[in-house]
Symmetry: C2
Subunit: 224 residues, 2 copies
DNA sequence: AATCGTGATATGCTAAACTAGATCAAGGAC
DNA sequence: GTCCTTGATCTAGTTTAGCATATCACGATT
């Protein structure tokens, strides 16, 4: 699957979450089964143009073909017409912590707590509502920041000069994350999930729309 | 098929023609069979996201999901980064005549000459090359302008007050296009086609690109 | 006349989108 | 504990995209 496809899928998922819709709510809006939406969002379906347009429409998006050289300008325009990103200290903290988590996931791709943290923080960011509790967020982010420091300490050693794969592995083994840090990380992931759940449930569900008929018209196939 | 789908298809076809590519040339670029490109462009296939992205890429286009409220601004940006539209009198004449044909097609939807004229003029407009012969263009457009006058004469009568369907039909029968005008229109369609063919063949064919692998990666399906 | 290019159309096959519906695992609320 | 929500996963059937290939009709050129 190409990056371009992934971008489109991410945009669909992001829009759904921004609107506070569950997959079932979107399913009711569009008539596309929830199971199929799940598959689409996870990259397991290479959907048809008509399906893409239908889902986009339910999420107040339009599909456009843009000349390549106009893409930066278009991205700029879209960004400038987006809802204002909250400038609260809590939102900034969330954004920073999310970026830290993303970077750490490059170093520790198998650490599932980081994945959980990223997913929950991303959802919170999409919701644009992180509550007002800066201290709570800083506390959740503390183990993450400490892991970042830990990783940077050992990255200096690992990066110093060329090493064989064996040597790199040995350094990584020596650089095992202390158990206390892992436990704190697990707790942080749990707290982030709790915060996400609390804030997600504040969003009211919107009424469903009738499903428009987007199938190819039979007459349109009659080209003979 | 929705208008949005038609817009995407039109954009693909327009881009191909603007680049002076035949369906077979695009087929060689992308590996998509020419028969399938033909079907896509005529609205007979509801293509997959990966196929759309691939075709777009070969035509220097990117696919974007744009918030609905940002669409006018995006359209503006795309327009402003488009190649400059020639300001020659001949191009202006072509644009005007094309608009006239479009309007006439609403009045006479079954008149195949008008469809042929629109297709050929649209292709010429996409090529942005109409040659330099303003007089030739004006001559091709003459029967079209006369048909427009003819239509406007009878539209006044048909629009004056409410009429039954029978009365409207009688007026339309009385407003049959004179045979000479039909013949001149047929000639104009032929001339437009000739001009199109002459100018299309001036465009050199560009080298083909290797076909990138855009299929869903097998590992991507392994979510279990 | 022969040849070439163009878009449209046809055949036949495989894979997968899409649908309907059910279920699972996990978590949260009461 | 019960009940609900959420996203993920599964089964089974229908439809069609996409591919490979060939051919057609038409127009242009030589």
């Amino acid at each position: 699957m190409s990056y371009a496809t992934q971008d489109i899928i991410d945009a669909l998922k992001s829009a759904r979450e921004t609107k506070g819709l569950s997959q079932r709510a979107l399913s009711k809006r569009t008539g596309v089964p929830q199971s199929h939406i799940s598959k689409i969002e996870s990259g397991g379906a290479d959907i048809r143009l008509s399906s893409l347009i239908e889902l986009a429409r339910a999420l107040d998006l339009d599909l456009k073909l843009v000349p390549r050289k106009a893409v930066p300008a278009v991205d700029n325009v879209v960004r400038s017409t987006a809802p204002t990103i909250p400038a609260t200290p809590a939102f900034k903290e969330l954004t920073r912590t999310l970026e830290t988590v993303k970077k750490l996931r490059v170093t520790y791709p198998e650490l599932t707590e980081l994945k959980k943290l990223q997913d929950n923080f991303q959802t919170l960011k999409n919701l644009r509502n992180v509550g007002k509790d800066l201290e709570h967020l800083r506390e959740i982010g503390k183990p993450i920041r400490e892991l970042q420091k830990f990783a940077e300490t050992y990255r200096g050693i690992a990066d110093a000069g060329r090493r064989t794969a064996e040597q790199i592995k040995a350094i990584q083994d020596a650089a095992k994350i202390p158990v206390e840090q892992l436990e704190a990380l697990r707790q942080a992931a749990h707290n982030a999930q709790t915060l996400r759940n609390q804030l997600v449930h504040i969003i009211p569900e919107q009424p469903s729309l009738p499903r428009p008929a987007y199938r190819l018209d039979e007459e349109e196939n009659d080209h003979g």
